[in-house]
Subunit: 304 residues, 2 copies
């Protein structure tokens, strides 16, 4: 039975996952990114690790690689990669295609990979055209049109965390982890809303407080809902897509955002959009990195 | 020599233009929209008018039609068309393809048509991937990727006038004609900036005052620059496109926007985008409707 390799390259670890056609991760193996970067030869080291995986799992039919940064328009090279400096501006796919000439190898931004993974392996049936937004430490996402990742003009479209919002800042500045903490601190300083939060705390503490009914924490999520609503309005208007997946660790707090999010959406989107609008949570969770990367490789089989 | 028919359907007139390969409008003819709508049979009446044009100009190789509204995902039918009610929800292209089976006929939104017209007939050489934004009574535009109109998921993407801005309203609410007048009146009411504007006036009067150095009118355009800058930041981030054409009657006032527009752009876009960013004025002016529509038809020849 065919298997697919998904490689999730992050700032801390490079994770290799062997995935079967049903989206089961048969085998996971991770290497510290700093080891793979050794001697400044990320591509060479990566190629050796890949050779090992392929030897051990001869049924691997494709390789997909998710990277935390921008790629060249042809998809063969990395560009800016602040968290993995040794891999910045490297022709990784070209090197690998030379070493493994018969193997389909596809690389993309990790958020695009996670987006495509929802179509290939997600638990819910999806139309072939949808928007995927991750709300986490940062705000990112991917867009799939007719089953293919929409890459924009020069290959790095859908940087949705940097869309402008009603605060005159970007959506990520508003509701990334730092933004959530700043919102909470602003309300604490104003002293108008009762809360158990005080001193220094992280975004997780705001979420926990909200779970316990903390009024100030809930107000923060209420505001977040407004900004997410604005982002959805903008994206739906630019892309004319009505299915929206929300991922990235927000699943437990998403209910707190909803009311205000829909209020903005219903104010600004006419019925042409709202009658078919479907906003739901993404389903791959912690496996999104590997499964998303594997789905890239599978799309490469179809292209070859 | 081949000719191309461009039809610009508006709320007041339906304009037929016979265009040569160099973008010269050989012959223009217009009919009141209300006449073409007679008996509620817009499609039938249109087909008869088209037959006349084709008889008189037998070298017409394609027909392009620009409409002021939304179209179906397959491009064959109109959807919502507030300014031309008799043409709303009509399978215009299907009717015409039945009447003229060998002729390539392509219909699209008029802003998309105008966008594509700049590539086919514009006075400046353009890359095949660019964003076109019209600033006029409303705010609209089109997006061309690799020489093709980008239509989004369901065919009606790039409704950029309805992108959210830092005021918590849409860009069109801010800087459409009504928005310009509202901004000027707000500053007049505040009474802090000297101006010759008073009482009732239209957007043209604000432009004229700005030409004469009126400080309040110039402040209005300065603010407009900020909102246009925000729109460009958002679109560039979502679409990864670095060539931007500005059209729609703003050409004479564009200089007043520039400073603030670039200030927002340089604050929010990193070098990856700004190093290649090219923002220029569109060139087709008053002929954009007919030439844009004609360019749709030409794209249809390539498809057949």
């Amino acid at each position: 039975m065919k298997q697919f390799l998904g490689v999730d390259i992050g700032g801390t670890n490079v994770k290799f996952g062997v995935v079967d056609a049903d989206g089961n991760i048969v085998k996971k193996k991770k290497y510290p990114t700093i080891e793979v970067s050794e001697g400044g030869d990320f591509c060479g080291n990566f190629s050796k690790l890949l050779a090992k995986r392929l030897k051990k799992f001869p049924d691997i039919a494709s390789v997909g690689i998710g990277i935390p940064g921008t790629i060249s328009a042809d998809g063969k090279s990395t560009l800016d990669l602040p968290n993995v400096p040794a891999l910045a501006n490297q022709a990784l796919v070209k090197v690998l295609e030379k070493d493994f000439p018969t193997l389909p190898i596809v690389m993309d931004n990790d958020a695009n990979a996670a987006a495509l993974g929802e179509l290939e392996f997600g638990l819910e049936a999806l139309p072939k055209t949808y928007i995927f937004i991750t709300l986490g430490t940062g705000v990112g996402g991917g867009c799939v049109i007719n089953g293919k990742i929409f890459k924009g003009g020069d290959g790095n479209g859908f940087e949705v965390g940097h869309v402008m919002s009603s605060t005159g800042k970007t959506i990520e500045q508003n509701i990334g982890k730092a933004g959530i903490i700043a919102m909470a601190k602003k309300y604490i300083a104003e002293g108008q809303i009762p809360t158990t939060l005080s001193g220094e705390f992280d975004a997780k503490a705001v979420a926990n407080a909200a779970h316990e009914g903390d009024k100030l924490a809930l107000q923060v999520y209420h505001d977040m809902g407004k900004y997410v609503g604005e982002l959805i309005v903008t994206l739906v208007r630019v892309l004319d897509i009505k299915t929206i997946l929300i991922g990235g660790g927000v699943s437990e707090t998403f209910d707190y955002l909803k009311l205000n999010m829909y209020s903005v959406i219903n104010e600004f989107l006419p019925e042409y959009y709202t009658k078919d609008l479907n906003i739901q949570l993404a389903t791959l969770g912690n496996n999104a990195g590997i499964l998303g990367a594997a789905s890239l490789g599978i799309s490469g089989i179809e292209l070859k």
